[in-house]
Symmetry: C2
Subunit: 222 residues, 2 copies
């Protein structure tokens, strides 16, 4: 597959499962604008099509299983509730592929967001436990859907931490993330260290509430 160079990554088609949610739609829009071939997947082909048409830029649509089978690389942007069951149903079409999990297992109460415990350690490790034949990478946890969908924002001020145990796969996803103008894909460690990256989204939500912002992170000195 790709060796992580920008040129090759640009030629890969990108499926986004759960692509009708704000995070999925935002990523679909930015990658389509960057020239990537994007397929939005949903449990409902009709809702996937509506989302694809609302984005434009050549984005196509299908049911999750169809998109999982067709796309070269797949982003999992489904809600945490249903994450495991969705992936269990897609084991076969996702075999051999790079699967990027961007799901943040969070709970909310009157004090704001907090990290939910995950039996496997993190959503990404749960994906790896289910998709034993896939190359699971964790990335895109801290993207702001609002920013991604904002037509006024031409450059996204964000570093995307990319985690995984397969160097070629993390290199590819770093290159993919870096296709969005302003974004850098930065290696952020092994999958066993994915929990805190997912959970940090709760802190970013706290920052957003305090500052009425759409905060992201940048890594300094790299």
């Amino acid at each position: 597959m790709a060796d992580g160079t920008l040129t090759e990554v640009g030629a890969l088609s990108l499926g986004i499962l759960g692509g009708t949610g704000d995070q999925g739609k935002g990523l679909a829009r930015r990658f389509a604008l960057a020239g990537q071939r994007v397929l939005i997947g949903s449990r409902s082909a009709e809702r996937a099509l509506q989302a694809a048409e609302s984005i434009g830029h050549g984005v196509t649509a299908g049911e999750n299983a169809e998109v999982a089978a067709k796309a070269d690389i797949v982003i999992v942007a489904v809600p945490w509730d249903g994450h495991k069951a969705t992936l269990e149903a897609l084991r076969e079409p996702l075999t051999g592929k790079i699967v990027i999990d961007c799901v943040n297992p969070l709970g909310f109460d009157k004090q704001g967001a907090y990290a939910l415990p995950v039996e496997e350690g993190s959503a990404a490790q749960q994906a790896a436990a289910v998709l034993t034949g896939s190359r699971v990478v964790a990335a895109f946890h801290h993207v702001s859907a609002v920013t991604l969908l904002d037509p006024e924002v031409s450059e996204v001020d964000l570093d995307v931490l990319v985690l995984g145990d397969d160097r070629e796969a993390t290199d590819t996803v770093q290159a993919l993330a870096s296709r969005i103008p302003g974004v850098r894909g930065i290696y952020g460690g092994r999958l066993r260290n994915a929990h805190q990256v997912e959970a940090l989204t709760a802190n970013i939500i706290s920052i957003n509430r305090r500052h009425k912002a759409h905060a992201g992170i940048r890594i300094t000195d790299v």
Copy 2:
């Protein structure tokens, strides 16, 4: 006590328990350079004195209990191994004070660093459970001791996430962090969300290994 303004924070004396380690010494040096009155604490008064003399800039020294009693604000920079016992022994002198926990419970093996499970959820929550009469805040987790101790670095390119449930205390610690040139103290959420901030240090270590860097984080859009 302080209301979080820079002027008042500058008048407070700052104790650093475990100040003979690299992180403690680095913070002591930067705060002394910023004009803060700094007291280094250690289990051994002699080693505290050696550390204070190696830093200069008016830094004084004493045993942990003495420094805990004398200082207006206290940073806990002791090793995770011994964290709980050290704090249990200092409950009385720390009563009523802002106590800043910067301890990262990490393990290391041949694959690098990883987050250790903590019964209370995080080092900061353990501190709060032990120091029921103190105002526990979590901050300074991602500072690079190498950078703090480097005389060539005049501005530290870092945002310090400040977590806690006491608004006046977190405001004060934000103001304190911002006294180091280049640093911004940014509210990062409640103590229940401290684990992932501590654990993220494992990811930063991974980034440092990959890039031979001394990485830190910046928060965008605030």
